[in-house]
């Protein structure tokens, strides 16, 4: 099975974050979490999950939706679908 580059994931994620949180430039790294981004509320969390699902063509389970609290969590979740 194909491996997916972490760099590609981060690049795609930062585009999504930019769209949702209306930020100009975002240097996305794994350590960034819900606390660091104003606007990362429950409403936008769903938008984030949905956007990741559409962008990467994956489906995130309800157990995982609640656990995704940092960028690193997202990267791990996406990688898990491609390995």
């Amino acid at each position: 099975m194909m491996n997916i580059d972490e760099e590609i994931i981060l690049r795609k994620l930062s585009e999504i974050f930019k769209d949702i949180f209306l930020m100009d430039v975002i240097e996305l790294h794994g350590g960034i979490g819900q606390k660091d981004i104003p606007g990362w509320d429950s409403f936008n969390h769903i938008n984030l999950v949905m956007a990741v699902e559409v962008e990467f063509g994956i489906k995130i389970s309800i157990q995982k939706i609640q656990e995704l609290k940092t960028v690193e969590n997202f990267v791990q979740e996406i990688r898990a679908h491609f390995t």
Partner: protein, 652 residues
């Protein structure tokens, strides 16, 4: 399997292509611009936002995230309110009653409404509180005084409300009917907004598969039954339906409803489908407001047939059975013909020599469309934007009521730039999908179909014959006499109520006060002895024009009446019909011992046609009294009036 070349880069390329061509969730009939993100960034930083810069974005395909961003930008616009001139846009107040979470759908609804010329203020209630809102006459819902009330209930909520006493499916269906009628009744008691009932998204899981309907207490079967019957119940109660079934089938259920998100946040409709959902909602609202398209303008080469008539000749073009490509174009022609039978006016706008362009219509045996299906046929080498203007002028309709279909991206782009009010669908490459694309775009969505709608296309074609006759006469009166016009008038009744209301709400040019009325409001006026609601039908030697004008007069006192509403279809302009109508009004007034008639003109930006109407009818200007009224006029019935001898006036 050989995976060489199936690189990560290649994989993303394929995904990217999939996303761009993702026709299912997006509004694929709208153009995609490549620099949407840049445009959004640019507008986001603007202060104040210039709505003109947003118009490209409003008319392009956006995903749900881009819609959210544009929604934020536009909200900022709205908050500033009067710093913007919303030329041509109409305001409307929309309340959404829902048992599920709907906040994520609001940007899409607002933006889709803007695309159709409506600025919406949207009211939502606290989560799950819709019954409390409806059952309390003092609720903020009713204080909001909506023009439109959308009811969006999830299947669990409907079942909870309908299966109270037993598992018997018939009884459950009866209870569902009672529940909806009661809900609609209470809304109607509390406000005068038009109700739109959304079909129920069938989220209930079937237990037995194909034989599900035999299972008497199946929730899935019950929801199926309710959806099946809801259309009839709604139509009996004059409630408009928002039918999602067809779109759920086309796009796929799992794109519409995400079970994880339902449990996570009680979203019945998934965020990713919000662009389509918002568009569907706005279609019904716009159709009810009379803002649907009236005329389909078609290119010829590679639009109505395969190939180029000028190059390939009559034997070379592909149209007709026996050839797959020819059959695809034939199917499209059939669709166009059926559209015209629902009252859509057809026109041709083609870059061709006229005689070449007409050749297939005259002599190709397989053509379904004939020359006489078109109200206007323009083939020349001028640019298409100018030709579209010509068609609009000739048919006397607004450019904003036209749809232009052309296979050539260059022509589409040119028309979009020159005439942004014309709807130009992004046509697929494959002619097999032309009809589907136009249908999916919803441009001809209507809430009802009157007998006049069915006849309209023919009436426009008759009009062409009339104007040809007109050029044959040197004197306009001779021409009018030759038309042998009969003006038939009568009061509103159950049979013509829908058409009369539709005419009032659709008419912009000849509408003295910019009146708009709901069916229910008209019914109240009909029952009120202070009002007289009169309709006029015009018949001439070419045929029946249908109901072409309505007038509502209001008694102010025993001797004085005021013209509350007067609308007339632009199809009969230039034939002095307004004089004949006024003659009828004078007779009605004299019969009721009225001495004077007051007429008000309120400028709406679209009705300058009637700015001097009252003057022309012999009214005298009154000093300005009310700032909301552009000019007031009075007519003394003791004065002598001119009669129009070339009309035969008949009371029905």
């Amino acid at each position: 399997m050989d995976l060489e070349g199936w690189t990560i880069k290649g994989f993303w390329q394929i995904r990217e292509n999939m996303l761009n061509k993702n026709s299912s969730t997006g509004l694929y009939w709208l153009p995609i611009y490549t620099d949407i993100e840049k445009k959004l960034d640019k507008i986001y930083k603007e202060d104040p936002v210039n709505l003109q810069n947003c118009s490209d974005l409003l008319n392009s395909q956006l995903n749900f995230l881009q819609l959210n961003r544009l929604g934020v930008i536009l909200d900022r616009c709205f908050r500033r309110g009067n710093e913007f001139s919303w030329n041509g846009l109409r305001e409307t107040k929309v309340a959404i009653l829902s048992s599920a979470t709907i906040e994520h759908l609001i940007p899409a609804i607002k933006i889709s409404l803007l695309r159709r010329g409506l600025i919406a203020e949207i009211y939502t209630h606290d989560f799950g509180q819709y019954l409390q809102e409806v059952n309390n006459r003092e609720s903020s819902l009713f204080k909001f005084d909506p023009n439109v009330v959308i009811i969006a209930l999830d299947s669990e909520n409907v079942i909870k409300n309908c299966r109270i006493s037993s598992a018997d499916p018939d009884q459950a269906l009866n209870e569902a009917k009672l529940f909806f009628n009661n809900l609609w009744g209470r809304i109607k008691d509390g406000c005068k907004g038009q109700i739109i009932q959304q079909s129920i998204i069938p989220t209930q899981i079937s237990l037995m598969g194909s034989a599900e309907s035999y299972l008497i207490d199946s929730s899935a079967a019950l929801i199926g039954n309710i959806n099946y019957n809801l259309k009839n119940w709604a139509s009996q109660s004059k409630v408009d339906m928002l039918s999602l079934d067809e779109h759920i089938q086309r796009v796929g259920f799992s794109t519409w409803h995400d079970r994880s998100l339902w449990h996570y946040s009680k979203q019945d409709i998934s965020p990713q489908i919000s662009p389509l959902y918002g568009d569907l909602v706005s279609r019904v609202i716009a159709a009810r407001a009379g803002l649907t398209k009236k005329c389909l303008v078609l290119d010829l080469d590679n639009t109505l047939w395969g190939g180029v008539i000028g190059d390939d000749g009559i034997g070379g073009i592909r149209i007709g059975n026996g050839d797959p490509v020819g059959e695809a174009f034939l199917a499209f022609q059939k669709f166009v013909l059926e559209l015209s039978k629902t009252g859509i006016i057809l026109a041709v706008c083609s870059k061709n020599d006229l005689n070449k362009a007409l050749e297939p219509f005259d002599s190709h045996p397989d053509m379904i469309l004939k020359q006489n299906n078109f109200a206007c046929f323009i083939a020349n080498w001028d640019d298409k934007a100018s030709n579209l203007r010509k068609i609009a002028a000739k048919l006397n309709i607004g450019l904003d009521s036209m749809v232009f279909v052309d296979d050539n991206p260059f022509e589409r782009d040119l028309v979009r730039k020159e005439l942004p009010m014309v709807f130009v669908p992004e046509l697929p490459n494959d002619p097999s999908y032309y009809a589907q694309c136009i249908s999916d775009s919803g441009c001809f969505e209507r809430v009802n179909l009157t007998e006049d709608d069915r006849l309209r296309a023919k009436q426009y074609i008759d009009n062409i014959a009339r104007s040809e006759l007109e050029t044959a006469y040197e004197n306009i009166v001779d021409y009018l006499v030759s038309l042998d016009m009969r003006l038939k008038w009568g009061y509103f009744s159950e049979e013509n109520l829908i058409r009369c209301t539709q005419l009032i709400n659709k008419t912009n040019q000849f509408n003295i006060t910019g009146s708009r009325y709901l069916d229910d409001e008209i019914q109240k006026l009909m029952a009120d002895s202070k009002y007289k609601c009169i309709h006029f039908r015009l018949v001439d030697k070419f045929g029946d024009n249908g109901i072409i004008s309505t007038v509502i007069i209001k008694e102010i006192n025993k001797e004085l009446i005021c013209i509350d509403t007067w609308v007339m279809s632009c199809r009969v302009f230039g034939r002095n019909v307004e004089h004949a109508i006024f003659q009828v009004l004078i007779e009605v007034c004299k019969k009721n011992c009225i001495k004077k008639i007051i007429g008000n003109y309120i400028e709406t930006g679209k009705n300058s046609y009637v700015a001097h109407l009252f003057e022309g009818l012999g009214f005298i200007n009154l000093p300005k009294q009310n700032p909301g009224i552009t000019s007031s006029w009075i007519y003394d019935l003791s004065q002598k009036n001119d009669t129009c001898d070339y009309f035969r006036i008949e009371a029905i």
